[in-house]
């Protein structure tokens, strides 16, 4: 158990969500164990007494998350809401909303965690739980950080579009801005394709996955990746970490002769659709933050789809040369399986509204990785250009 707790503490630090050594994780089978000694342990132990769970994570956020989360939490409290409601895809689908409690006590934490996967305590951090593995707590807490980041910057721009954010928001914005990590300008040296055999494919996917996580082009480690070789689509499994791929790749036959893709990424059908429609061999999907933020920025006045943009937007929209399409996760009637593949024809990438970027390569992952990086850098610059232009 300790090993598992340490693994996720390290992942949190590597994703710069928390300072190294700061995350506190607890796991319970028959006995309660912590990844380190800490003052907060007794509070977490108290939460275990009140809930039927097997793991708990306390994540004190690093900057800029600390500024962002505390600001949003304070705002939600002013509005009389005890929760933050981001509208990115991840939150909409899996977290619903992010409860906020004022006190870091077992009762306060448990009362929120009984209903939701995570809770925010302003000035302290994020707490999340799991019933199967500490990975669940990690997934929830890192999603909270991602969702708050996206909401904070997206809302700021939206407010600029209809006036001026108040002084407090401006101050928080100026502060958060200073903590953004430097941009990467050079793509890593990924293997050149086309790949001749399964081993080469897996190796290329592995290196690409690690680089995508390392460059911060994903929300923690979530995303998916595939490569088509001889009518077999090698694709990352559902819920796999892009930085731990080799044992988590499913070979899916495009001729539909097998159901072995049951554990493949929920975007398997979208990947298949892209391969069939574009002839691309390589697909890389990440959640680069500013690309997600920019996909949510719309200057159409008086749009009747407001609030439903993620599924109903009919406005042809682009970020740079990349189209933005609506679509929910998966294969439902409003699923991105329907909107994404046709939009990819003749493009190097497509952004799904509030979700992330899918990029393709003819022969290897150098192309889609470069697209991910370039588009994210462009989006980040474009974001601040728009903020500037709108008179901040």
């Amino acid at each position: 158990m300790i090993r598992l707790l340490a693994k996720y503490a390290d992942k949190i630090a590597a994703a710069r969500l928390s300072a190294p050594g700061a995350p506190l994780l607890a796991g319970l089978d028959d006995a309660l164990v912590f990844n380190r000694e800490a003052q907060e342990s007794s509070v977490l132990a108290g939460v275990f007494d009140r809930m039927s769970i097997n793991s708990l994570l306390f994540l004190p956020p690093a900057e800029p998350y600390a500024t962002i989360i505390d600001f949003l939490a304070a705002r939600s409290a002013e509005g009389g809401e005890a929760s933050i409601a981001p509208s990115d895809c991840e939150t909409r689908t899996f977290l619903h909303d992010l409860p906020v409690v004022a006190e870091f006590t077992p009762d306060a934490l448990a009362s929120a965690l009984k209903r939701r996967k995570s809770v925010i305590v302003p000035g302290k951090g994020v707490v999340a739980h799991g019933t199967v593995s500490p990975e669940q707590a990690f997934v929830s807490a890192s999603s909270v950080c991602f969702a708050c980041f996206v909401k904070f910057f997206a809302d700021y721009l939206a407010q600029l579009r209809c006036g001026k954010p108040d002084a407090e928001y401006q101050a928080a914005f100026e502060r958060a801005k200073t903590f953004l990590p430097p941009m990467h300008h050079r793509a890593p040296d990924l293997p050149a394709g086309p790949f001749a055999d399964r081993e080469a494919v897996i190796q290329a996917m592995d290196l690409t996955g690690k680089a995508t996580v390392g460059y911060g082009l994903v929300d923690s480690f979530f995303g998916n990746i595939s490569y088509c070789l001889d009518d077999v689509l090698y694709i990352s499994q559902t819920g796999s970490s892009l930085d731990e791929l080799p044992d988590c790749i499913d070979p899916c036959h495009l001729d539909g002769s097998s159901c072995a893709g049951l554990t493949a990424s929920s975007e398997l059908m979208a990947h298949q659709g892209i391969v069939l429609k574009t002839g691309a061999k390589a697909i890389l999907h990440g959640h680069p933050r500013f690309a997600v933020i920019m996909s949510m920025d719309c200057d159409k006045k008086g749009c009747d789809k407001i609030g439903r943009c993620h599924i109903e937007c009919t406005e042809p929209r682009f970020v740079w040369d990349v189209p933005v399409v609506p679509g929910e996760v998966g294969t439902g009637p409003r699923g991105l399986v329907n909107t994404l593949p046709p939009a990819m024809i003749g493009r190097r990438g497509v952004i799904v509204y509030g979700h992330g970027l899918f990029a393709i390569g003819r022969e290897d992952f150098r192309e889609p990785f470069a697209t991910l990086l370039e588009v994210e850098n462009y989006c980040r610059e474009e974001y601040f250009r728009r903020v500037e232009m709108l008179g901040s």
Binding site: D30, H96, C252, S258, L262, L268
Partner: protein, 590 residues
Amino acid sequence: MNARLNGWMGWVLRVDLTTGTASREPLDPAALRLNIGGKGLAGHFLDPCVHLPWDHPDMPLCLFTGPLVATIAPTSGRACLATRSPLTGAFCDASVGGSLGTQLKKAGLDGLIVTGRAPRPVGIVIENGETSVRDASHLAGMTRDRVRAALDCSGSLAVVGPAAECGVRFSSIMVDTHHAFGRGGMGLSWAAKNLKYLSVKGSEKVRVADPEGLKKAREDIFRLVSASPVLSGGHGFSCFGTGALYDLMDSRRMMPTDNFRASHFAPAGELNAVRYKEAYQTSKHGCKGCHIQCKKVAADGRSMPEFETMSHFTALIGLTDIELVVAANALCNDLGMDTISSAVTLACHAEITGERLTPARVLELLEDMGRGRLPELGLGAAGYAALKGHPEAAMTVKGMELPAYDPRGAYGMSLAYALSTRGGCHLRAYPVSHEILRKPVATDRFSFLGKARIIKIAEDANAVVDSLTACKFIFFGASLEEYAAAYQAVTGEPSSAQDLLRLGERIYYRERIMNARLGFTSADDDIPARFFEAPGEHSLAGDIRPVPRVDFLEARAKYYAIRGLTEDGMPTQEKAKELGLEESYRQEMR
């Protein structure tokens, strides 16, 4: 009297077949809140009588539906039946799809309790406010299809077949056209009361406390279902039914082969769900109110086999004929026998006698079993193997035949089988969810790390699911978090995922108490020795090792501690008190 309840109808119908009388009784709202519905309420009413022999006239058949049924909550309109199992002698419950739950609810009832024994075969007919017990002598010995045709019933119809009437211990109850109370032999419980069929029809509406809240919960659940590869993916249940698991179990080397003497079946690649879909031009069918539509129906109207049936009528008995699988499935349904138990009993027979089965022989054996011509096989694998002096050949837990997940390929599964209150069943804790399908996150399938608590929490969660009476599969996408919101919206009872889990813990612990009363101990919380001794895959390849016995026992001990049981797996007064089950516990000590 209970007109103000939301979600629940507030009434239970008691039918005494000895006297042929029926009476409606109001349900105590406190009991509803504490037991939710389905499995919970059925257990509540079974508890005081479970010590009786399974065929005692006073042994109740408890059929209950759930508070979400017949609302827009995506829950399939299920129902749960509980009684003491003729197969295992233990507490037993089974959940069924189709429209039985919905019709029962619309007839103004949360449940039905049947006691007594009719002097001749009868049917119970419930139509809105009216209940009648009708003579069914002319239907005796008839298969499900012929009974359906003879009755021309427009509501939901549950029927036992000739297997139940001939004393087959694993006989099922067939519901509507494609659904079954399959496990535990409860068809025989019906036959013991001379109950041949139950027909239910109603038109009442269910009151919902917060329709807007329910709509929101429903949308959240739909969104998660769409995002679930297992349910909605191109290779998922919606497209291929549960048969979608076939390729996966084979690729993970978890396919029970040759009566669990191996875990890989070389021809499996040619026998997957894709082949059935092509060969039988299947269409989709689902339970009332379900949009996943995981049931598949052949163009000729036959129900397509579930994954467990596909696997057991091929790999387990060494045959490679998909038409045999479809025919055996249809024959079992018609005669009213559980397909899993039927196949495992045949595999046991083949191992003991050394007979090499052929497709024709399998159908012949099934027919003979279901018609009572092979009473020894009708005892099930455990009873048959004991009789033949080869108990080691019965692949059962607590006397219930094991489904198609080899526990050597997923250690959580070994614990789940051993600890399930109803015996060799995959549906109580279903660790396949995280050990194989990676939901909600992946765990190491070759490790017991954390599994004791995971199993305990999953059992509690599934006790809730069976009480709500929702569909297990939808939880490959949604979770109790969303269902608590739906439950709260429907009933108006404030609720959270953890509140529901607490109720689930109580429901499950009561089952442990009932089993303890029936004499079950830790010796029964075990899996067949084969899994600890021999490797899986093929006998020569050692890729899948035996389950480490010491680790298994250690994990089981942890489970006992976490569940609040003694070292021997017995319930404690302390825990019973904590869960408000003192009365049940006192009965155990009598």
